[in-house]
């Protein structure tokens, strides 16, 4: 498998990178971790005229918590950085659980969080967690920066809201209102498999009351499914068998799966319901222990 020819730039600043993208009017693609793009180049599904490799923009290699609890993930933060991060281990359970389930351990050393969000694979993990956490993407264009709410960012299969001359430089996850709890479950047939179905849940709790509820799904629709509205039935409630059941039902309805060799639409919908129930019940149990 051999990629077709392309021109290559490796800028060291964001401004440079954006300028190159701007000059090339949509014919240049950004290369970050490359764990999705390079295989596509090898299979020649993608044959861009130019690659803009951002791996030399060291300023983008970070993830950190602001004093107010806002989590900022730079465009060069690798999956592995989050998998072994002390920062998010306790503060962001949804991300922490997803981190270990992205692709496989070797891919995780190279692939980037922001890159896979931008890739917008309907079966991708990170886009789902970002939607559940109501995150934002910071895009840098020729005329400065803008922030795009995650719910508007994934616009279709493998398609995002970035303009051709914009570079996603950072992912922003707002601080929890109260205590952040949540989880990520993924049905994969083996490590590195794409999700048959996966569920990201992120709740903010005030005592035992849910103050904010976020949820998103991967693998069960033409694009990452935003189930925030569905799970909002939990807001203002405590986690009881009844409220959990209701939420799981609502989220399952939000799924839009297709029958394929991974399973029937009904099966995938059922898995979504099961996973939501498991995540929420798990939270309820640990909250009781804590109390």
């Amino acid at each position: 498998m051999y990629p077709s020819r392309f021109a290559y730039d490796a800028p060291t600043t964001v401004a440079e990178a954006v300028a190159i993208l701007d000059r090339n009017g949509g014919e240049a693609k950004v290369l970050a971790g490359g764990q999705s793009l390079v295989p596509m180049l090898k299979l020649r599904f993608a044959s861009p005229e130019r690659l803009v490799d951002i791996n030399n923009i060291k300023a983008l290699d970070y993830h950190r918590l602001d004093p107010d609890g806002t989590l900022r993930i730079g465009a060069l933060c690798r999956h592995e950085d989050l998998e072994f991060s002390e920062i998010i281990k306790d503060s962001h359970p949804t991300l922490a659980q997803a981190a270990a389930l992205v692709a496989d351990p070797i891919v995780r050393t190279r692939g980037t969080f922001v890159g896979s969000v931008c890739h917008a694979d309907p079966q991708g993990d990170w886009a789902a967690t970002m939607i559940a956490l109501d995150g934002r993407i910071v895009a840098q264009g020729p005329n400065g920066r803008r922030e795009i709410a995650m719910r508007d960012f994934v616009s279709g299969p493998f398609t995002n809201a970035l303009a051709y001359n914009e570079l996603a430089v950072e992912a922003v996850i707002p601080p929890a209102k109260g205590k952040a709890v949540g989880g990520y479950l993924k049905l994969e047939r083996r490590v590195g498999d794409f999700a048959t179905a996966s569920v990201a849940v992120a709740l903010d709790m005030n005592g035992d009351v849910v103050t904010r509820a976020g949820c998103a799904l991967a693998g069960v629709g033409g694009k990452t499914i935003d189930a925030n509205e569905a799970i909002s039935v939990l807001v203002g409630k405590t986690l009881t068998a009844e409220s959990i059941e209701a939420a799981a039902e609502a989220v399952a309805d939000a799924a839009d799966p297709r029958t394929d060799h991974r399973g029937s639409a009904d099966y995938k919908r059922h898995i979504v319901k099961t996973f939501v129930t498991r995540i929420l019940s798990g939270i309820a149990r640990s909250e009781q222990k804590a109390a």
Partner: protein
Amino acid sequence: MTSLYEEVPAEVPANVPTRRVTVTVNGEKRTVDVEPRLLLAHMLRQALQLTGTHTGCDTTNCGACTVLFDGRPIKSCTMLAVQADGHDVETVEGLATASELHPIQEGFKQEHGLQCGYCTPGMMMASKALLERNPNPTEDEIRWALSGNLCRCTGYQNIVKSVMWAAEKMRAEGAE
């Protein structure tokens, strides 16, 4: 990969930009002119003749091409050679010294951790990265860390034992 000793195509297309990259491979600086599209695995195998790094799949699943890039394991078939410019790459050929094998190499031989040998270099490089981060891994931690590398022959059980064997020896050596 033009060299005084290599023929280049009669008409080199004008639009083929090659780049000079210098990579420290197994501690030695190596300089090659490459096309941007050349994969790192192919540069190692063809230009540098380090054929211990194998390519087993097209889709970044099998891990046979795993090498250490600045100390971290990466799949060298999913990285461009140009991206290695100025970086450190360690391949299976760099494991043993002239006089002795690396404990991981010994472990794989002692515990019969290989059969056809095709996945072995990748397995050993991934194992090395694991043991550097976690000198005393459990069986599960080993299985998890190697889950990006496929083996068709051994059934993994002996590979896990091999890594255990190496870990023990490395701890003992460290203790000395």
